[in-house]
Amino acid sequence: MTRTFDHDLASEADWPRLMAAAQDGDRAAYERLLRAILPFIRAVAARHHRAPDRIEDVAQDVLLTVHRMRHTYDPARPFGPWLAAIARRRSIDLLRRQRRIGAVETSDSPAYETFADPGANKGTEARDASADLARTLRSLPQRQREALELVKLRELSLADAARLSGRSVGALKVNVHRALKFLRTRLAGE
């Protein structure tokens, strides 16, 4: 489902006032602000990332960070640089995280040679294992898979993951635990 609110987005000149109101606990102003700044955040993220789902990941991270840091904004100063600094930092954090993940994953086309020495086949075995893992992940119930992705792969805190998924921290913990247990028995059994 796609909804747009573009026609009534608050203009950039209103952002400092909306944020000041949000700091004082005005939830409607805060919601208006968060919807209004989303295109700006996506634009910053698009400078570092190409894939639309990566840009969405950054945008979600930025909103969570803005939420945590909203007390650090000084309404006497412009809002744009404050927001831009947070968006840039979160974009770069995601790039770094990808690089870290990329360092242990391989994008080689599958190599079919096998060698007499079992140690020489490690590369192929690792690829098989990662394909197995991906298949097993897909067979997880949707809630468990989502919980695992938010908490373990995107490394969000439980509180942030709870906000993002609309589920309680307790439910997420249970889902992550069950997902890991499922993976463990499933992968050990194969």
């Binding site: 747009t4 919601e31 969570l64 840091m69 909203r70 007390h71 904004y73 930092r89």
Partner: protein
């Protein structure tokens, strides 16, 4: 807008309790420095040998050195508070460098004189080990309290903030050290002081990094 994003925004808005805005960084830095100044003054009055210190401070070289040390401390603390906010220029990190240069140059000069005067005796470690311990020991409580205050800003670049804050702390500790240090610095003293400062900066930077973003 995707469902997840919509849910996130609604959720964040629903949980948006009023927050207390941070005071301006200069005010926060001044308050922290005033507390440290009060404690430092009490320690000096109670424990230090002020007569010896007054005699030594009449030497303009030492006066320059003291001014450089104290200014490095104050400006680095101010810079750390500024840097801890997302929308401040990273150039704040350069603020403590001019007084740092003054500090190193003036104490370097007096080491050089000593070296001429005493010869290789200036190279002996002697009392310096105590200075090293003094700077490190004083930096720990100062560092912990500064970290606690800076964490309120949730810095986006915690390692940088902690490194600049660490420089401020080590400089303040080295300034206080002068009141309990009844002799001019020798080459060894200076290198020991600088090693202690460098160590404090490195440890704080690592501590900042370990605390992870945001601090």
């Amino acid at each position: 807008m995707t469902d997840a994003m919509d849910r996130l925004i609604t959720g964040l808005a629903a949980s948006a309790a009023p927050v207390r805005r941070l005071w301006p960084p200069a005010v926060r830095a001044t308050l922290w420095l005033m507390v440290v100044a009060a404690l430092g003054a009490a320690a000096i009055l109670l424990f230090s040998d002020l007569a010896t210190f007054a005699q030594r401070a009449s030497d303009p070289k030492l006066a320059w050195e003291l001014a450089g040390t104290l200014l490095t401390g104050i400006l680095a603390i101010l810079a750390a508070f500024e840097l801890s906010l997302p929308d401040r220029s990273p150039l704040w990190a350069l603020l403590p460098l001019p007084p740092l240069a003054l500090w190193v140059a003036s104490s370097g000069y007096s080491c050089y004189e000593h070296w001429i005067g005493f010869g290789p005796g200036g190279w002996e470690l002697g009392e310096s080990a105590n200075c090293f311990r003094f700077i490190l020991a004083l930096s720990v409580p100062l560092g912990v309290s500064l970290l606690a205050v800076l964490r309120r800003s949730r810095p986006l670049a915690p390692a940088r903030v902690a490194a600049v804050g660490g420089l401020g702390i080590a400089a303040l500790a080295a300034f206080l050290l002068q009141f309990f240090h009844p002799f001019d610095v020798t080459v060894m003293d200076l290198s020991v002081h600088l090693a202690a400062v460098g160590l404090v900066v490195a440890i704080s930077s690592l501590a900042g990094r370990a605390a992870g973003p945001p601090l």
